[in-house]
Amino acid sequence: MGFKKVKLRIVECLKGQRVHHDVSRLGNINEKNLFLVGEISSEEVIDLLNRTRGHEYIKSQHHWDKSLEVHIFKPRKENVKWYIKCYFIEPNVWFISVHR
């Protein structure tokens, strides 16, 4: 999937609330994930994705399951750099982290 299709697919999952969040390695709530703890909303994540330009996006592999493609977005909003890291296990999107 290309950059634009990935963004569209994430937005679809967000609108349909087909969203999972990874837990920490010890199975705890990762407080750095501001989306998981409710500090930012789905609408704000969509806004950040829409602000992301092609050069602010990269793909990598999941650290232990190389079959999973991890999508990393690094948009800027009001001079603040954001970091969004997620992957798909259809039909859901899985967020590793959303933080400043």
Binding site: H20, V23, N28, V37, G38
Partner: protein, 198 residues
């Protein structure tokens, strides 16, 4: 919008097994990674193989947020009696009884309003300097959650006023909107808020 149910099956990457495993939605208590506490009874997925927590669905976020925000802050100031009377009179305008209880919701609403509306922030300084704001005979104590407290802190930072000046300014803004000018749009909006708070 998808709502996951307890007992529903899914699949996900179990970090303990290091494999994509079948999972089941279950209610569980999950600690924060910082060690600051635990969130009781949230929906999570657990690995069908090793029973480790694999993920937290988005629908559990309000419970996590509530656990994080359960800490209450107290805003304590001293104001003249006429400002307390304004708060009680404005709260009583909605005809729901218990103005003393509703006044806290009214103030919380105006803190959030001042944080989002820069025009109101500007007005606060003028109001807090006015003759009506002079005096400090009565104690006013307002309990707020973390979110409202942060908004209050932002208003203080933006206006460079003290917390007492901000509260005095907000009460006089309430006087202007509800008792003096009777701003229809604001009163209609507040009526809904007050019903929820009553």
């Amino acid at each position: 919008m998808k709502i996951f149910k307890e007992g529903e099956k899914s699949k996900g990457p179990c970090s303990k097994c290091k494999k994509i495993r079948p999972t089941t939605f279950k209610v569980s208590s999950v600690p924060f990674s910082s060690g600051r506490g635990i969130v009781n009874d949230i929906l999570v997925t657990v690995c069908d193989h090793c029973r480790a927590v694999v993920s937290i669905p988005q629908q559990s976020t309000p419970r996590i947020r509530e656990a994080l925000n359960s800490k209450k802050h107290s805003i304590e100031v001293r104001v003249p009696i006429q400002l307390l009377d304004i708060l009680l009179l404005a709260s009583d305008q909605f005809g729901m009884g218990h103005p003393d209880q509703l006044k806290d919701s009214l103030l919380r609403y105006y803190i959030a309003l001042a944080e989002s509306d820069k025009k109101i922030s500007v007005e606060l300084k003028n109001f807090s300097d006015s003759e009506m704001a002079a005096g400090s005979g009565q104690r006013l104590s307002l309990k707020v959650n973390e979110v409202i407290y942060q908004k209050f802190a932002k208003v203080i930072e933006r206006t460079k006023l003290s917390k007492t000046q901000v509260i005095k300014g907000l009460i006089l803004q309430i006087n202007e909107d509800i008792l003096q000018k009777r701003v229809k749009k604001r009163i209609e909006e507040l009526e809904k808020v007050m019903w929820a708070a009553a």
